[in-house]
């Protein structure tokens, strides 16, 4: 394997390109009309246009991507995350074209992609799942309503083909169920073309903790410890860390979850990098939620905490080699935190913000990693997701990682689009976060972004002074514009002189 096509864009395409460079692999980028000047196009050895900006006409054009791989002589395709990464039919087509898909087998993607099948498969392998309608097959509305009281309220209606919170509804009592089932089906139908739903008990006060696994083609499966991902808003992760402050030094729990994750991966004969998501209740009972059969956005957290280069291992696995590590080599002995910097305005209900990045100054220095696909002058378009960059900090301890993150967020300057940096800054200052006491409801229910943290110093005089100085300058400038017209010669004379000069 000496040439790879990267079927993605943004920071993850750049991340994969970097691994290729380090391995001496040639790179082929693909891009949409909106991304002609994107970093992944500039960094790659070769780049080919897929089509117009909307994803379905560009980054989702599986046929075109496979054709380009063939024509350029690439031997493998790395899908990144999102787009085609979890499409079993794409993985299958890549294989049939005689190319290597850097990821799991199509059968494993299919088995884990259907949430209901996934629950049934891992439950059969002895992995605990959140109680619900597993093993029931597709149910109609009446069946769902009949079975709901046995599961107990509150519960969740989830889309079988789901992801990203689409087609998901929370149900408090049986009366509201018929309406919610209908709207969940409608949303799932629109988002995935599949209106199937299932039920799952809603665990209160639970945490979202996931285990990174790596599996080679020789049957070796290891886990790289956990990532704590409970800080979410509308089912979108905002901040991840490793180790989880909830698991802390309970090594027994960590290893037990790791072993269960390995078992879940083996249940579908998993190969390459993947993640098993668990819900963990306050009594430390854990339940399988789903498996992500791809490289994840938050993989740098694990890379930073363990020192393992996950993307490098992905290439190694795809080349048919053995993993570079055995389970006993993996040590999660430092702390890592990742803040997702999104083009969203935290002062305006996290509304997406688009525009040209006029100015950007990224944090650097000890213990800081920034993965990004943007640069000054880059246009944040409405066509793709709002992730601008990921800031990851490393610390010998969690406290050091937090201090570094605070410094990094303070250094970070970006002008032209609004970002959620102030949200992360507030989070880093929150006592609950510092104490590691948060669950999946924290951001939406207990964390007030508007409320000024107690004891936090504010500078209204400085703000007043700066706004006034800017307003004053603007006024002086507009006054000058008016004065310019008052020069002693008329504009017609100026034009005449200029024309004479051109002769």
């Amino acid at each position: 394997m000496n040439k790879v096509l990267i079927a993605n864009r943004g920071e993850i395409a750049v991340r994969i390109l970097r691994a290729c460079r380090e391995l001496g692999i040639e790179t082929v980028a693909v891009y949409s009309e909106a991304d002609r000047q994107a970093l992944h196009v500039r960094y790659a050895d070769e780049a080919y246009l897929l089509g117009p900006a909307p994803s379905r006409e560009s980054y989702l054009r599986a046929d075109k991507i496979i054709d380009i791989a063939r024509e350029t002589g690439a031997q493998a395709i790395h899908p990144g995350y999102g787009f085609l990464a979890e499409r079993a039919d794409f993985a299958q087509a890549v294989q049939e074209a005689g190319l290597v898909f850097i990821g799991p087998k199509p059968s494993a993607i299919a088995a884990m992609g259907d949430k209901m099948t996934a629950r049934n498969t891992v439950a059969a392998a002895g992995v605990p799942v959140v109680p619900g309608t597993e093993g029931e097959g597709a149910l109609n509305d009446d069946d769902l309503i009949a079975i709901a009281p046995k599961i107990g309220f509150p519960l969740l209606i989830k889309a079988t083909a789901g992801g990203g919170g689409k087609g998901m509804r929370e149900v408090k009592n049986i009366e509201e169920m018929p309406d919610l089932i209908r709207s969940a089906r409608r949303e799932a139908e629109a988002a995935f073309g599949d209106g199937n739903v299932y039920l799952e008990k809603l665990l209160l006060g639970a945490r979202h903790i996931e285990i990174q696994i790596l599996a080679d083609q020789h049957g070796n499966v290891i886990h790289l410890g956990e990532r704590e991902c409970s800080l979410q808003r509308r089912h979108q992760k905002l901040l991840e860390e490793s180790p989880s402050p909830f698991i802390g030094d309970d090594e027994e729990l960590r290893q037990r979850m790791g072993a269960v994750a390995v078992k879940a991966a083996q249940a579908v004969e998993y190969v390459n990098a993947g993640t098993i998501e668990f819900l963990v209740d306050k009594d430390k009972n854990f339940f399988f939620l789903e498996m992500n059969t791809r490289l994840q956005v938050e993989h740098p957290v694990t890379e930073t905490a363990t020192g393992v280069d996950i993307v490098m291992e992905q290439f190694r696995i795809a080349r048919g080699r053995q993993l570079s590590y055995k389970q006993e080599d993996i040590r999660q002995d430092s702390a890592a935190i990742e803040c997702r910097i999104n083009a969203e305005d935290p002062y305006n209900n996290f509304m997406p913000s688009t525009g040209r990045i006029a100015h950007i100054l990224l944090p650097t220095g000890p213990g800081i990693r920034v993965d990004t696909g943007v640069y000054p002058g880059f246009e944040i378009s409405p066509y793709y997701d709002s992730l601008i960059s990921k800031v990851i900090t490393w610390g010998e301890t969690r406290a050091q990682a937090i201090l570094r993150m605070r410094r990094a967020l303070e250094e970070y300057r970006i002008v032209g689009v609004r970002t959620n940096i102030p949200f992360h800054q507030k989070m880093m200052d929150s006592h609950r976060f510092m104490g590691g006491q948060y669950d999946t409801r924290f951001v939406e229910e207990q964390f007030s972004f508007e409320e000024v943290e107690e004891g936090k110093e504010t500078y209204p005089e400085i703000a007043a002074l700066m706004a006034t100085l800017v307003a004053h300058r603007q006024m002086e400038r507009s006054a000058q514009v008016i004065q310019r017209g008052e020069r002693d010669t008329s504009n017609w004379k100026w034009v005449g002189r200029w024309e004479r000069m051109q002769r």
Partner: protein
Amino acid sequence: MKYIATIAGQEFAIEIIDEHHILMGLKLLEVDFESVSGQPVYSLLVNGKSFEAYVYSEEHDWQVVLLGQQYPVKVEDEREKRLRSVGGSTVGESAEFHLRAPMPGLVVAIPIAEGDRVEKGQVLVILESMKMQNELKSPRAGTAYRIRVKPGDSVEQRQTLLSVT
């Protein structure tokens, strides 16, 4: 030049004496103020203390993002302030509201109909952008009219979607 800056009801009297001297209330401050490489990022040295902020205008106010906090600031010169206190400041209360798209995107749903009575905070339009569905809410109670878009329409930034009167 004398200005009044207002933050959350608190007024600051600021007099710009010259390039490097400012009278804030009764305090004389020595300042040095520069925009960083022509960007709306400003560096302020005030009596030796260094601050940096992102300052931009929005509607009729200035927004200052300083040390992780955002301050909405109203800046008026003395004359403007006097005019306003004479003319009263009820503008905006009764005027109609035009809902503009805060970003380019796709109209997913309009859960209201022409002529509907809407409450403050009620969702008027659901707009999809950057793979997220965003609820655009009414800032006040009134009647929705002149709905100019329908589900499935692509809209540009600042395009007027509908009005509330």
